[in-house]
Amino acid sequence: MKNNEHRDLFPGALEMMILRTLKRQPLHGYALAQYIKRTSNDLLQIEEGSLYPALQRLLKAELVKAEWGISSTNRRVRIYKPTAAGAKHLEREVSRFERMLKGITRVLARGES
């Protein structure tokens, strides 16, 4: 019940996905949640609410910035987009993640054979 954003994900994974998504296109919270859900084909168990603490962390670290705007459905929403630091952070995190994944995959593959 508690700590759900970490139950299926490692720390930082959600932030990485958020940054990747926002880099593609600035979005507001709801749209962001729907996008991540849809794109992951519902494979990831993410509570929509858990996006918000993650967004606050990114805001605080100044990796994203937010501005109030009007959504396509005509509501007042806060639209997030990555900062330059955010873009750089994303690159670093993704390459780190890929290295890690590669490592894990190798070990798993060796174990099977």
Binding site: M1, K2, N4, H28, G29, Y30, A33, E47, E48, G49, S50, Y52, P53, L55, Q56, R57, K60, S71, T73, R75, R76, V77, R78
Partner: protein
Amino acid sequence: MKWFKQIFSRRRFYGDLSEEIQGHLEEKVEELVGNGMSRRGAESAARREFGNVTLMKEKSRDVWRWSFMENLLSDVRYGVRILLGNPGFSIVAILTIALGIGANTAIFSVVYAALIRPLPYSQPERLLTLTELRPKEGRASDADKQTWVSAYPDYLDWTRQCKSFQALAGFSGDGFVLHGAGEPEPLFAAQATVNFFSTLGVKPFLGRDFAAGEDIAAGPKVAILSYGSWIRRFGGDPHILGRSIQLDDKSVSIIGVLPPTFEFAPRGNAELWVPLHIEKDLVTRRSLRWMPVIGRLAEGSTQGQAQAEMNSITANLAAAYPQENGAIRAVLVPLRDRIVGQVQPLLLILFGAVGFVLLIACANVMNLFLVRTAGRRREFNIRAALGASRGRLISQLLAESLILAAAGGVLGLILAEWGTSLLIAAIPDTLLASAPFLRDAHTNLAVLAFLCVAVIFTGIAFGLAPALQISRGQECEALKEETRASAGGVRTRLRGVLVVAEIAFSLVLLIGSGLMVKSLTALLSRDPGFDTKSLLTFSVNLPPTTYPKDPDAIRFDKEFTDRLRALPGVAGVASNSVVPLTGGGASIRFVIEGQPVAKGHENECNIRDVSNNYFPVMKIPLRAGRLFDDSTDSSTVPQHVIVNEAWAKQYLHGQDPIGKRIKFTYSPKENYREIVGVVGNTADTGLDSPEESSLFLPFTQDTNSFINYVVRTAGDPKNAMGEVRASLHAVDPQLVLIQPFTMDQIIAQSPSVFLRRYPSYLIGSFAALALILAMIGLYGLVSYSVSQRTRELGIRIALGAQQKNVMRLVLGEGARLTVLGVVFGLLAALGLTQLMRSLLFGVSALDAVTFASVAVVLAVVAVIACCIPARRAMRTDPAAALRYE
């Protein structure tokens, strides 16, 4: 400054966040409704997918704040609200803690002032004391610790030869009669070698230090005032320097004022300091050991090196002067040990005892806390269900216990302030003068730091166990109404352990106070060897200009005592060079005819100069032979001595002393003197002093300018004081009564009595407090378990249990805890009372009577404490008890 801006823009952030999340949910609901779902279904689906809204909001906010501090603040706010909502509990807990912490802080203030605070000298740890010791048969080693003397010529040799010391300085007591405006007044003073203050590293506050060449001269010409006497006697006059004052028959110029922080416990009562001014005998004779010496270690040398060097110097002196220095050892002791040595064991024992009180207080409050936390189980379960983490629950409970501890600490500080002044006020003035550092016992930063540590320790001590227990609570049972609580389980077992510990601790304190009281009684009922009732003592100092020769002193003595005897309230007057029970006095070496000894290794015993009627006036019994009398023991024929029983026993081993002859060895001109009488022993240094061997000479053959008188009065000795003073004034208006006290006052103020009376009262009060707390704890536990077992008891009674069975059931529970507590307490006391052995007198640290009687008293009180809930249990109405469920 980013964090700073954030704190202020936070409120807007939180508003934004709520609006954003609200928008998110609405958008979701609209989309789901658009997909054909009912509004109600859509709302709940949106919430389900979103997760715990409050928790998410909180977590989002947590990102922005310094969450630890802020959680703490909110815990504190909530805690205060909770505690205010339950004032009865809070008041009891705060008072208990305040008593515990207050008593501890008060004792700590004294301990700090005496034992922890460095002495007010520069690099005080490098200061040592030097004393010459001569092994004396039959003296307790305790007496050696008190010895602090050396011969002036030896001191000069040490100063010349010893390289381990940067400086060596000597001092001694002194006293004057201050003449000026109004009545002449006696004044306590001290004399010291001119380098005394520079050795301590103390510079005068005003004026200058003694200069070379100002000592040893006949009579002091200059003086340095203590800060206190400068203020008290001279109104803090800034032009005091250069002013002359009249001390005895000498005019003395004031050259300086000591700093306000200066104190020197061995001469704590000195109002002024003068350069050493001693007569020729004391300067030149190596056999006269009278001067305490202090030394400052040279840079880079240690006490061990200094001791080794002193040993070799002492060996050379012994070879050079076998008669005077043959058996002499020089012993180094740190100055600090000399100064606080006597109070240290007492203070540490009191500190330990009061620490027990705090532990018991903690246990008691913890007990209360456990009960109350058990009652709040539901509240905590709900908080846990709403997402409060274990850490948050623990921190909430700890916040509450720390608030209580802090409130107790504030109240305790007030109690401590008051308690400290009470502790100091209970010390007799004469003793306080020899421990001036105790006057400085008050709240300071160190005491506050101790208080804070005590508060935190206390808060955590009684808050942690309940906190851990509640947070261990099973979440699955979270919302179940808790009914039919049984008395079993961890919580009650822990409470039982606490009560057992409380009983054990209070038993230890009770036994300690029992032993102290028994020591005090034994001490006060000890026969000092003379009649202490209706006895007045005082001294008179005869200045050398008016009374230059022995016959002058003898003439004064005769005139004065004749006048006193004529007074209606006076039954007898006598004099002695040492008043019994006040300590001090000279010793002398002697040989017994027919018992040759090696040079320098003669026996040494106390020597006292007494007036011929001293023994009858003091009511000291004559055991054999005769007393001095005016016809045969005139001043011209020094041929008789009287010894006491201890002397006869120690040196003559059962032979008849009458007719035996002895000779003093300090001068080759001495002749043999005959022992004419044996008198009973007297306690010389205090009621607890061992029986020492003493020799008595007639006052007329060994006259002193400082005479101690004892006056046996017909009525209350206090009433005779005025007449005695008037008689002295009539004989010589320049003389004053020095230290006029009744023997009862001397006993009441003596260190030996103080060292037992003070801890008797204090440990006694601590023990009483501990007993009350422990009994409240026991009563509370038994009552609680009775209330929890109402149903069980109801069933038992319904099934036919007799009242006495129920009573036995409840009492049995209390009795079990009490017996356990008593057993543990007795075991702990077996070890702990050993620590207080140095304070005990006439009673063993394992005194079986004290142990047994205290255990019985405690058990009886415990049964009474359990009887109240037991009677309630007995009267349980079975119908009501069962319906209650």
